[in-house]
């Protein structure tokens, strides 16, 4: 018990500056209550119910049947589940770093200019705020293998057999990744901008006085000062990418075949097409535990690399 308490304390140690602002439990609950009530009723309880459903087989209407761990044992022989798992990991591995790097790069560039900042920021933000349905239709058209602009451009550049994108089992996942990264970099750029603008300018002045060049400033001032933002961005991106769904549903329906099937799409399918609500919950909880493990891992390392002032 004590070691678990230590474990949590280590993960969540907040700052080095010692004394907390207040140690009042009552005050804490006063602050927490409005959000927590809603959270408890509309998130926590449904999660608990869904957890219970992992161990039953139920199609929404006929009586539930308790089946113990059968849903889980079946899962690991379920070829479609394994395909979805693989695709989801692939999606995460490629989209998360690319989004972080590109949006940070954009934020840095944008931070260097003054004229036209608002206009450019808005341009970058437009993909994020446009509805996914419209975006999916447009990108599908752009991806059209023989007539679409993307492949026309590639052919003009001398590529003889341009990819089939959303019409090909090899490229469908990549097509979805490209579109997803495109759609979200505006948002993460805005977050990084907020983070960048929170870096005190005197740090940069001091660095200049010490004779640092641009790269050194970036490496020794910008990156370290950005770590709380980067931490947040990485967690949200990781969790979000494991939950990828809408673009798959609207652009490819998991296809062609099952080549762009991802975990949440599979869960949705199992629940609404196959009416296997217990099994869908079980898959969802496997997803949840994967993400939880990664998140805990991130939090553990938080202390080692995140600097709060």
């Amino acid at each position: 018990m004590k070691s678990i308490k230590n474990f949590f304390n280590n993960i969540f140690k907040s700052s080095d500056s010692g004394a907390m602002v207040s140690k009042n439990r009552k005050t804490a609950y006063f602050f927490l209550l409005p959000n927590f009530i809603g959270f408890f009723i509309f998130t926590l309880i449904p999660v608990a119910i869904a957890f219970f459903l992992c161990f039953v087989r139920w199609d929404f209407s006929n009586p539930m049947r308790f089946v113990g761990l059968k849903n889980f044992t079946y899962m690991f022989t379920d070829q479609t589940f394994l395909i979805a798992l693989k695709n989801t990991f692939f999606f995460t591995l490629v989209s998360v770093p690319s989004t972080m790097i590109i949006s940070l790069g954009l934020a840095i560039l944008l931070n260097k200019i003054i004229k036209g900042v608002k206009f450019l920021r808005t341009m970058y933000f437009i993909p994020y705020i446009t509805s996914m349905v419209a975006v999916a239709i447009v990108w599908n058209m752009l991806y059209s293998p023989s007539m679409g602009p993307i492949n026309n451009f590639l052919r003009n550049m001398g590529v003889n057999n341009p990819p089939g994108w959303t019409a090909s089992t090899d490229w469908s996942m990549i097509a979805i990744i490209i579109m997803s990264v495109w759609k979200q970099i505006g948002y993460y750029m805005v977050i990084y901008l907020a983070g960048l603008q929170g870096i005190p300018s005197h740090l940069y002045e001091a660095a200049t006085i010490d004779g640092a060049n641009s790269w050194q400033k970036f490496r020794y001032v910008t990156l370290p000062m950005l770590t709380p933002t980067t931490f947040f961005v990485s967690i949200m991106l990781l969790i979000g990418s494991f939950k990828v769904f809408t673009q798959v549903m609207v652009m490819t329906s998991g296809g062609p075949g099952r080549s762009s099937n991802v975990l949440v799409y599979y869960i949705y399918n199992q629940a609404f097409v196959y009416n296997r609500f217990g099994y869908a919950s079980a898959i969802a909880f496997v997803l949840f535990f994967i993400v939880l493990a990664i998140t805990i891992f991130q939090f553990k390392k938080e202390e080692k690399w995140v600097n709060y002032t």
Partner: protein, 421 residues
Amino acid sequence: MKKTFVFSSIFLVSILLLATLSVAAQTTIRVVLWDYEMSPEYHELINTFEEKNPDIDVEVVDVTSQDYGDKLTVMLSGGEDLDVFAVKDMPGYSNFISMNHLEPLNDYIERDNLDTSIYSGLMEEIKIDGEYYAIPFRTDNWILFYNKDIFDAAGVEYPTNDMTWPEFREKAAAVTSGSGSDKTYGAFIQPWMSLATNLGVLKEEGATTLANGEDYDFLKPGYELYLKMQYEDESVMPYGEATTSSAHYRTQFESGKVGMVYIGTWNIGALISDKKAGRHDVNWGIAKSPHWADMEEPDTAISIVTPMAINSNSDKKEEAWKFIKFAGSEEGAKIFAKHGVLPAVKTKDVLDVYTSADGFPENSAAALEAKKLLLEFPPAPNAGVISSIIQEEHELIMLDEVSIDEGIDNIERRIDMELNW
């Protein structure tokens, strides 16, 4: 003075009483439909029904076609207050029955002496375990649409009411011309799996259906035909092209760049109203669905039944029953026919209304008839699972990513696994 006062107050009170009585006596039934807003036939059906039944008020819950299955599942499972709903497809129908959402109708039918023969046997086709669960109000057959101008320009004879599928392929190749964005395709194949599976179902002539769960080799001839048309003849838009550019048979045909489309009779009403609205000026005709040369009864067509059902949880079942009976009656059928929707009741009177609609191609009534009708997909448990698996492998076969044999193998293997869950 006093007299007028007494008189007017009595008058006022009686008006109020009447008003409250009529409101109080009114029951409201909630009916779930898809694309209600865009369907004038439903508007007229409901208005007529309310006129004939002043004590019943109909409230429509409109759901978009795309989401109909999911939304209806959520509403029914969540116990929402619904009384009647239209059934969009057989897999959905089977699902809802296995989840006990549909009110069994045998008792109602017996009590009211409903004559089910007016539905040409279709009501029997959707019986499950000897019980009726829904009344058909519309049906659609799969037929051939063709663009007369394209055939004229190519000097090819129009499709006839007695063509084989290989002849269909020949004609498509014969009227294909041009290239790139100016290309005229001989035909357009809508990316749905039913385009291919229908050909297989036709060939089997009822010996087996898509719900058999074990053997799907009968799908091979349809796929062979389509693959040759796509990749050898190049007379149809390749599958990948069609899906990514969201191509749809209606816009394709109306653009005047496609010679033929094999699709359901629901397209007739759409073509007529679009032409009236000036959205196209295609000179079009219809013909019976092509068949296979070795069929015993070549005059067979694939049919889809759209019925209405009563929610087993409804507390206004009598009123709901009245409504679905009306929708499936001859009078209801005439309303549908007037708006270009092919009803389930196909008496001569009804068909006359249908074929005399302004814009219906001349001398084409024969195309609507068929000696034998086969359901595209029969009601069956696990129908949702089966059709979902076939759809996935269908994509791979049509894209030529897997061979037909491999695709069919996968279908059989995966269905076997899922059914043994």
